[in-house]
């Protein structure tokens, strides 16, 4: 009897969690249906999705902080994208290439994005409560100014003499700028080896800086732990000189198969570490601390075993990941989490939950909101750099126009809402949204004999999912207000 109850309850819970994630579930179903009817092999779709993931994930992740700070979905990230494109144009016209060119882009677009972000933040502060509609309109407005800059000012007022970039008449920038040969794949082609080298140097600098600052401020040195960490890094660095390792790391792409294998290995090592930490570090008996590590090890084992299934193996060897780009995506995920653990992040959350409380707690609400907008704008500009260097062609007048739309739709598809968003939802959202994006035209032409329907369908999905979740959010806010009212009224009635 009890068992039955439990079963019923867990079934109930499962149904409820499915219902709560209905958007995600709907899109999973749509994606599976799409893949099944696309008429292309699964590995083709997966390859495409991984490429698009590397391109777009960063932009989507740039949306998370404003959501937490109560600004809602930042339709204004288009402004960040515009900053990046201005930077790219100048860097290309000056003739910088490769990593240098990319770094130049970052150097130019970051201050520009901070300035833009500050202005956008100011505007949002003037329109508190309607940031989203302001952001939407702002995106179009900024687009207008951008076109004005690129069509008239460049060449018309600012002399630029570069026939590959400028329209024949000498005024205005051409429709497309080919990035091949300058910054195409500039980030994607950074090899693992150079990443490790750079990281090693950074660690060395930080260690030195810490040491010096502690010496100057006459604080405790903690020399042992510092040196230990540095020594460990040195060992890893030394390993890269082993020829086999060196050739492996010399690549800039990582086969998905290898990535999975490495992940499994990492997970297994982590499991051992957890176990040791529990038993030796905290001196707990085995029985108390075996659950998590063992579960982890089992999952890693199963995943590894799955790589031997032919169908999966086929997919795994078909996909290769640009390591540096994926690493940056991981870094940004980490950054989003890290910022929440700081005072600034806590202030943002407070402001996001209630401006009144934040204000009475002495938090500068306006400043916090501006900082959140700035961070988002800067991240968006970097995201657009990543997007364009991977794409390789720069549509001068169109590259930025759908950035906000697609990024926001992706985030929402992942189950985020106007008030809640996290890394997981962003990543899941990018995968689902872009899977649908890849397969929709294919399956539409398969099913209806018209790819056009699929094209329109995916645009509809993009707009539709945004409309839906905006409506659901507004709905919820009203319902919540009513509920709160009822609750606060009901309280004294209990006496």
């Amino acid at each position: 009897m009890k068992n039955k109850n439990n079963l019923g309850e867990s079934l109930n819970n499962a149904m409820r969690s499915l219902w709560n994630n209905k958007v995600v579930v709907m899109f999973v179903v749509l994606c599976v249906f799409g893949i099944a009817t696309s008429g292309k092999s699964v590995s083709h779709t997966v390859t495409e999705v991984f490429t698009r993931f590397g391109r777009n994930a960063f932009l989507v992740l740039a949306l998370i902080i404003p959501v937490l700070a109560g600004l809602g979905l930042n339709f204004g990230i288009v402004v960040g994208a515009i900053a990046a494109q201005i930077a790219i144009f100048w860097v290309v016209s000056w003739g910088f290439t490769g990593v240098t060119g990319l770094l130049m882009c970052v150097l130019i677009c970051t201050p520009l994005a901070i300035l833009f972000g500050w202005l956008v933040g100011k505007l949002y502060n003037k329109t508190k409560g309607s940031e989203m509609i302001t952001g939407m309109i702002l995106a179009y407005f900024a687009d207008g100014l951008y076109q004005f800059l690129f069509l008239f000012l460049i060449g018309g007022v600012i002399p630029v003499n570069n026939p590959t970039l400028i329209i024949n008449g000498g005024v205005g920038v051409k429709n497309t700028i080919d990035l091949t040969g300058n910054i195409k794949y500039a980030l994607d082609t950074i090899s693992m080896l150079s990443i490790i080298q750079v990281l090693y140097i950074i660690l060395a600098v930080i260690t030195a800086a810490k040491l010096i600052s502690r010496l100057v401020k006459k604080r405790e040195l903690h020399l042992k732990s510092l040196l230990l960490r540095f020594a460990a890094a040195t060992v890893v660095f030394a390993l890269t000189f082993v020829p086999a390792v060196q050739t492996f790391l010399g690549q800039d792409r990582l086969l998905l198969l290898n990535a999975v294998e490495l992940a499994c290995l990492g997970a297994a090592l982590f499991a051992v570490y957890l176990l040791l930490k529990g038993m030796v570090g905290e001196k707990k008996p085995f029985a108390q601390c075996y659950k998590r590590p063992v579960a982890l090890a089992i999952v890693a084992g199963i995943v590894y075993a799955l790589t031997y299934v032919t169908a999966i193996f086929q997919i795994l060897i078909a996909v290769s990941l640009p390591v540096c780009t994926y690493l940056l995506i991981a870094v940004i995920c980490f950054f989003n989490r890290w910022i929440l653990s700081t005072k600034l992040g806590q202030d943002m959350r407070t402001v996001g939950q209630s401006r009144t409380v934040a204000n009475s707690a002495g938090i500068n609400v306006d400043k916090t909101r501006i900082i959140a907008t700035c961070i988002s704008t800067v991240l968006a500009s970097w995201g657009q750099l990543i997007y364009l260097q991977n794409l390789g062609t720069f549509q001068t007048y169109g590259a930025h126009s759908m950035v906000g739309q697609y990024a926001i739709a992706s985030l929402l598809v992942g189950g985020a809402s106007v008030q809640k968003a996290n890394n997981k939802q962003a990543i899941l959202g990018v995968v689902l949204f872009h899977t649908l994006f890849v397969v929709a035209p294919l399956s539409a032409s398969n099913l209806f004999g018209s790819a056009l329907i699929g094209e329109y369908f995916r645009v509809f999905i993009c707009y539709g999912v945004i409309a839906l979740s905006l409506a659901m959010h507004a709905w919820k806010v009203i319902a919540k207000k009513k509920e709160e009212k009822a609750q606060s009224d009901a309280a004294p009635a209990e006496s």
Binding site: L123, N125, K126, T127, K128, G129, S130, M132, I133, T134, M136, I137, L138, Y140, F141, D143, G144, L145, Q147, F148, L151, F152, G156, G169, V171, G172, R355, T356, N359, S360, V365, F448, S450, L452, I453, Y456, F457, V459, F460, C462, Y463, G464, I466, A467, L470, A471, H473, A474, W475, V477, I478
Partner: protein, 370 residues
């Protein structure tokens, strides 16, 4: 004197002052560059009537409290759909109109308008129900509802089995054409009704007065004006201006909002048909995507705010906004050769004015909540 000037300035408002000044400047420049002013003015009048009804659709929406109707695309697609039906049924060329083709054209257009308004009414009621559930975020939601419906209708335009040669691509291609000529149905019907050249002639680029179009536009304005003066119209306005006040007078606020939305959507359908006949073509697919924004911008330029609009705002705003664009285009072409400034200008002006209105709206005062 000073205070009088100040109050006059406040009544006109900064944006209108800038736009009017700009309007005058381009008009003078057009004279300086020797661009055919009569033809330009004729074009201004045409565009005035062409966009007028669409902009008019904003009035009931703003007055009933849902704010500027960015979702006017809902009405627009209804109008497009009914026009397609009118063309498909080939009403203008029915045998009974063989002797009087003009009558056929009128029937065709009125059929499209009535059908469009009717469909739009039902759509508007449903849309109003939605907007009642999202009070406080109408603008955000309506913007995306507007965008989604265009994308959704794109699918329909591709798939609907139209037979008429005017609608289908001549060779190959799926679904309806991008632009559908109205030559065989009701193209330029209103414009030409009673239209005449005030100055010059067609060949010399004279000032053409599209009498029928303007009469129709003002007639619609008058109708809406009378509606706003009726008991229901008054109730609707009160529901928008102060819902609590309206409730205290026994008015069902939600119902009034639905009514306003439905009227606005229907006007959108009629408006797009007016627009299309003046243009001579139906523009399908993504062409109406941004139209909502331009209509909102026009009425805001006319002096409306997010929560209050009058017929005069429609008339002034449409004239200034469209007039400015019409005259600025050839002037810009003279100044900056070989470029198309008008689209960019439209983008900057229309979105700029909306942002300005947003900072002045309730959202702006919300910053004082702490």
């Amino acid at each position: 004197m000073k205070s009088k000037l100040k109050s006059a300035y406040q009544a006109i408002g900064l944006p209108r002052l800038i736009i009017s000044a700009f309007f005058l400047i381009v008009l003078i420049m057009a004279g300086v560059y020797n661009i055919g002013i009569p033809a330009l003015l004729g074009d201004v009048l045409r565009r005035w009537g062409m966009y007028g009804v669409l902009v008019l659709a904003m009035v009931p929406a703003i007055q009933c409290g849902i704010g500027p109707n960015f979702g006017i695309s809902l009405g627009i697609v209804c109008g497009l759909f009914s026009s397609l039906i009118a063309i498909e049924l080939n009403i203008a060329a029915l045998p009974c109109f063989a002797s009087t083709p003009v009558l056929g054209q009128w029937c065709s257009m009125l059929f499209a308008m009535v059908l469009g308004a009717l469909i739009a009414w039902f759509v508007g009621v449903a849309y109003g129900l939605l907007l009642n559930r999202v009070k406080g975020s109408e603008m955000t939601v309506s913007t995306y509802v507007g965008l989604s419906i265009i994308a959704f209708m794109n699918i329909l335009w591709v798939t609907l089995p139209f037979k008429s040669g005017d609608i289908k691509w001549p060779i190959g291609g799926e679904g309806a054409r991008n632009t559908i000529s109205l030559e065989n149905s009701f193209g330029e019907l209103l414009n030409k009704t009673g239209g005449f050249y005030l100055i010059g002639s067609e060949e010399s680029g004279g000032l053409f007065i599209p009498t029928g179009l303007l009469v129709f536009f003002f007639l619609m304005c008058l109708l809406i004006y009378l509606f706003m003066r009726s008991k229901t119209g008054k109730a609707m306005t009160a529901a928008g201006a102060n819902p609590n006040f309206a409730r205290a007078s026994g008015i069902n606020v939600d119902k009034m909002r639905i009514l306003g939305t439905a009227v606005s959507t229907s006007l959108g359908a009629v408006g797009i048909i007016t627009y299309a006949q003046a243009f001579g073509f139906l523009q399908m697919y993504n062409a109406p995507l941004m139209m909502g924004f331009h209509c909102v911008a026009a009425i805001l330029i006319g002096g409306a705010s997010i929560s209050k609009a009058r017929i005069s705002h429609v008339i002034i705003g449409t004239f200034l906004f469209q007039g400015l664009l019409v005259i600025a285009l050839p002037v810009a072409n003279k100044v900056l050769v070989g470029t198309d400034l008008s689209d960019i200008m439209r983008m900057i002006i229309s979105n700029g004015i909306i942002i300005y209105a947003l900072t002045k709206a309730k959202g702006g005062t919300a910053s004082n909540e702490e």
